[in-house]
Amino acid sequence: MKEYFALIFTGGKSLIVGMMITLREFFRPIVTVQYPRETLPVSPNFRGHTILIRDEEKEFKHRCISCKMCQRECPSGCIDLAGEKREGVKGMVLVKYHLDFTKCSLCGTCVEVCPTDALDFSDEYRHVGFTREEFHYDLLAKVEEKE
């Protein structure tokens, strides 16, 4: 008989404790992020597709010297770049830098191997497209349009 009433007491108490916990949570701030309108900051370690770093001091706004080291080192063979010699310009001028992001495994070898540190990972994570060609990025065009 004693246990019977003890159970009522402890049970009732635990119910009230539980209610207080949910009440406390009720008044604490919301933790979910309303995604399309709010976004979380991207971690600096995040690896998006590679980009040419924009450098205002250089003549062509990037540091690439068309040495093709990245193209040679790329294990997936997803980089296609070309440079040409121009009158009055020292060294090669980059005329094409295509990245096939459908093949890229984001290993970062190109970023590491670049002698002029011209490449870096972007923080772009929203890739949407209906055809695979939409993931063939023209990095040269991207660095030019970034003004």
């Binding site: 209610m19 949570e25 919301i30 933790v31 979910t32």
Partner: protein, 325 residues
Amino acid sequence: MTFLPPELLRILVTVVCAIVIVFGNAVVMGYLERKFAGRFQRRPGPMEVGFHGILQLAVDGVKLVGKQLVIPRHADPVLYRIAPIISFAPSIMPMLVIPFSPKLQGRDFDVGLIFILAVVSLNVLAILIAGWSSNNKYSLLGAMRSVAQNVAYEIPMLLTLMSVILVTGTFSLRGIVEAQTNGIWFVFIMPVAFIIFFAATLAETNRAPFDLPEAESELTAGFMTEFSGMGFSLFFMAEYTYMFIACSLTVILFLGGWQGPPLPFAEYSSALWFFLKVYVLLILMIWIRWTFPRVRFDQLLNFCWKYLVPFALVHLMITAVVLKL
């Protein structure tokens, strides 16, 4: 308005108001439930449709109306179709006798309380029909659980009602409210009866933590599993309406009905106090739902037969003795 006899007009207005309350309550409760559920889990709840998702329920309603009523191949076609109607239709009738304020009451029955209990208990039949006719094991299990639960919990509920009736000496809901004048609400005189009654109504309306008939994790949706479109939403609205009725009864029996600090035009506007109390109780129900886990079936019946029924009986005896002295 000479072409309408006043009595007919009164009936029309009452019925229209009752239906408005039923649908309005379903919309408000649907919104409150989702918003509160979100807040308890530190989410914002519906946010997309309208300001803070106010129009979400309207959109959901349109969606449900537009959906096809799928009937399972071996389901009983007649019973399957009428089950949601049997569940929903009686939920409007108690609105006719609930006294919202001294003058806002459809009819003051001498047996108003018994009328409400009789009409509301039809819902069990509807759930049984729904579970049986769906030809689905989950539906049938949910329906059987619902019947067992409702039969068990009706006993403590009625026993606590007896205590109140012994004090007031009337079954008329208006009479019960008027017996609690000057702030002497029955919740202060018999708090135990209030707690037993509220716990029993939670089980009667199949609300969590007693929502075994529709236990999502075991029975998908219980007796509602096979229902789609308006069939489902009629059950849904009926559930919210029965919650509203249960809370209204609690307010009338224990919390002094429409009574509260005086308002201008108190004969009508004191309905505000009534609705305020009812919605506080409904929010309490939501709070309970999002706090406690579902009880096991043996725990459910143990709680009723071992705790609620003995306490209600003892309470009834004590009330009778005190009144006789």
